[in-house]
């Protein structure tokens, strides 16, 4: 009696049969797609920014500049992406982005007064 009932139950069941083999095959297929090699695009953007920050520090040490001139130079070189700090006082503000590179240097003026300059450049 119970065997008959079970048959009736299976006969009436409609829908989708998803076997273990099919599950395994689909999982393997998904894994294969997932493990395809992804390209890591290499860029020298960080090097370019570091070189430009170094240029700015080098020029500030070679030619005496006021705070306003330093801000204008940094804006000309990095646009709105650079922050400049002189002796821990921020003189230029930037739009913050995902990544940042900072460079700092100590510049001595003709009277041997120390001026600590820090440049932070933001980029995506």
């Amino acid at each position: 009696m119970s065997h008959k009932l079970r048959n009736v139950y299976f006969d009436n069941k409609k829908g989708f049969v998803f076997s273990l083999e099919a599950t395994l095959a689909l999982t393997l297929f998904g894994l294969m797609l997932f493990t395809l090699p992804q390209i890591q695009m290499t860029s020298l953007k960080e090097l370019a920014i570091s070189q430009q920050e170094n240029d700015l520090l080098r020029i500030l040490s070679a030619k005496e500049s006021s705070e306003n001139e330093i801000s204008l130079d940094a804006q000309e070189l990095f646009g709105q992406n650079a922050e400049v700090w002189i002796n821990e006082k921020q003189i230029l503000f930037a739009q913050k982005k995902k990544n940042a590179i900072a460079s700092a240097g100590i510049i001595l003026d003709p009277e041997l007064n120390e001026k600590q300059v820090k440049i932070v450049v933001y980029y995506d």
Binding site: T42, S43, D55, I59, L77
Partner: protein, 146 residues
């Protein structure tokens, strides 16, 4: 030989997977090749520009156009002279070459063309320097032939 419908479907699926995999690998190889070419151009552009603003070479000032301080027996990095810049000649690295140098002093841009070759892709390296003791932005344009 028994050839069932199931076997045929499996065979078609295997072929489709292989095709997809080969297509993906081909796409990967093409992107890697382009990435390598872009990297090579960027590297040459940045290193040429760095050499230009950090060294002095009297034979070809594109390798270095800094002012030489005879008294201190050293070059003054990032300090260039207009005379040295205008003496620069073209330089090539395989199919990559330096096309032009543009510099702006007191808001006036000036361009020195170093090559008239046709180019496909170009990158400009921007540097901040002193030209004859005046602050200036200098752009060195490096291109690939094509």
């Amino acid at each position: 030989m028994i050839f069932s419908l199931d076997a045929m479907i499996s065979f078609v699926i295997v072929l489709a997977c292989t095709l997809l995999f080969v297509f993906a690998l081909n796409n990967y190889a093409q992107r890697a090749e382009q990435g390598l070419k872009d990297f090579e151009l960027e590297e040459k552009a940045l290193l040429t520009a760095d050499s230009f603003v950090k060294n002095f070479d009297e034979n070809n000032t594109i390798r270095g156009a800094c002012v030489y301080d005879a008294e201190k027996k050293r070059v003054r990095t990032n300090e260039l002279s207009r005379e040295n810049i205008t003496k620069a000649k073209g330089i090539e690295f395989g199919n990559i070459f330096v096309k032009s140098i543009t510099f702006t002093t007191n808001g006036t841009p000036e361009t020195i063309a170093l090559s008239s070759k046709k180019s496909s892709e170009c990158i400009s390296a921007k540097r901040f320097v002193l030209i004859d003791r005046e602050k200036a932005i200098i752009l060195i344009q490096t291109c690939r032939e094509g």
